[in-house]
């Protein structure tokens, strides 16, 4: 969220509520309801790190503050823009769970795999339903399509895990 805020502030100074609205405009109902606390904590941390400065909005009795990007903030934003997002996906809670639970004899891998497959299929269905629903922007649509592609890969990978584990059991 830090870098999203820096990017939004690069277009002009804004207060917290405006940033929240900008995010909601872009991501629509996909966005979890952001509470004011989250937004102001993020802004406070950015200010602590010297990436933004704030000043009170003139004539606002409720202490509303407007935030401005600093030179350091612009540099941090430029660095973020240039750096590709990590492509590594070498962390997978499910595989860890299967391996540890199976070796401790706590449950059958098949049981875990079946449960996980249902979970992925249900997610696929929910995301497809969201894709069919009206009133979402192009960003949300792309996000959903990306998540669907990842889920399909996760399901194929589940098949692979299942096959390998069976091979181990048979030998």
């Amino acid at each position: 969220m830090r870098h999203l805020f820096l990017a939004l502030l690069s277009g002009g100074d804004a207060h917290g509520y405006e940033l929240k609205q900008a995010l909601e405009g872009e991501f629509g109902t996909l966005l979890p309801s952001l509470n004011a606390g989250q937004i102001y904590t993020t802004l406070a941390r950015l200010e602590r790190d010297g990436l933004v400065v704030s000043r009170p909005v003139a004539g606002d009795g409720r202490g509303k503050r407007e935030y401005q990007l600093t030179v350091e903030g612009r540099a941090a934003l430029a660095g973020w823009i240039e750096k590709p997002v990590s492509g590594r996906r070498l962390k997978d809670e499910f595989l860890m769970k299967v391996v540890v639970v199976a070796s401790a004899g706590l449950a059958k891998p098949k049981h875990l795999i079946d449960g996980q497959r249902r979970e992925y299929l249900q997610s696929l269905r929910d995301l497809n339903d969201l894709l069919d629903a009206n009133g979402k922007g192009p960003t949300a649509e792309l996000l959903l399509e990306g998540a669907i592609l990842h889920l399909k890969a996760d399901l194929s990978w589940l098949d692979l895990i299942e096959q390998r584990l069976e091979l181990v059991e048979a030998s």
Binding site: F27, L34, T41, R125
Partner: protein, 243 residues
């Protein structure tokens, strides 16, 4: 209540260059009225074999197939054809539209075959095509329609008679994602109207449109997942916590 579709210890062995290849090894499956079931799995897992046996398009090596309360693997070809015409609608990956007929005539065909009057059949075909967004294409020859349009005509034809059972083999096989979603929407609507659907696909995202997803591997059912319908989902975008 008797199931609409049932496989009992169903098996199918093929002869290939003198050696026996098993396409299906002992499958038991019960599909209740009004269910939407998808069978998925990699190619060669036996899912299409299962569909063909359930449809009576192929005969099993062992086991029984029950369709609409009748055992069909022992029926004569003519009795089978009659039962299929009354009870079953098919959607295949390759649309199998009659090239010399217009879109509307293709949809009328099953209606006429089941004894409906021409004028009534014409009206229902037009209506159905209109619902599928193909009102302007009713007089077009299949060759002049896009793949997505042809498949929607094929779905309209399969649903025209409001068959009790709709069997679909890779119904979205060569469609782009928008056309595929339209076709799935139609199938789901058929389910909402009480028809029973069995769909076969290698694509998990297609299979997930069903209410129950069966995964097959090596000629056997490997797992089954019952899915929840119409779950409300929003706010699922992950936003990192402030650090």
């Amino acid at each position: 209540m008797t199931p609409v579709l049932e496989a009992r210890s169903l098996a199918k062995t093929y002869e290939s260059r003198g050696t026996k290849v098993s396409g299906l090894r002992t499958v038991d499956l019960v599909v209740e009225r009004g269910e939407f079931v998808a069978v998925m799995g990699p190619s060669g897992c036996g899912k299409s074999t299962l569909l063909n046996l359930l449809a009576g398009l192929d005969r099993p090596s062992a086991g029984e197939v029950w369709l609409a309360g009748q055992r069909i693997d022992t029926l004569s070809e003519t009795a089978l054809a009659r039962l299929r015409r009354r009870k079953v609608g098919f959607v295949f990956q390759f649309f199998n539209l009659v090239p010399s007929l217009t879109a509307a005539e293709n949809v009328e065909l099953p209606l006429l075959l089941s004894g409906q009057r021409r004028r009534k059949a014409r009206r229902s075909a037009r209506e159905l095509l209109g619902e599928l967004g193909l009102a302007d294409q009713h007089a077009a020859a299949p060759a002049h329609l896009s793949g997505g349009q042809q498949q929607r005509v094929a779905v309209a034809r399969a649903l025209a008679n409001r068959p009790d059972i709709v069997l679909a083999d890779e119904p979205t096989g060569n469609l782009d994602s928008v056309a595929a979603r339209q076709v799935l929407g139609l199938l789901r609507r058929a389910r909402d109207q009480g028809q029973t659907l069995l769909l076969v696909s290698h694509d998990a995202s297609v299979a997930a449109a069903a209410d129950r997803v069966i995964t097959m591997r090596d000629g056997l059912i490997a797992s089954e997942s019952q899915l929840d319908v119409g779950r409300q989902v929003s706010g699922i975008l992950a936003i990192d916590e402030p650090t």
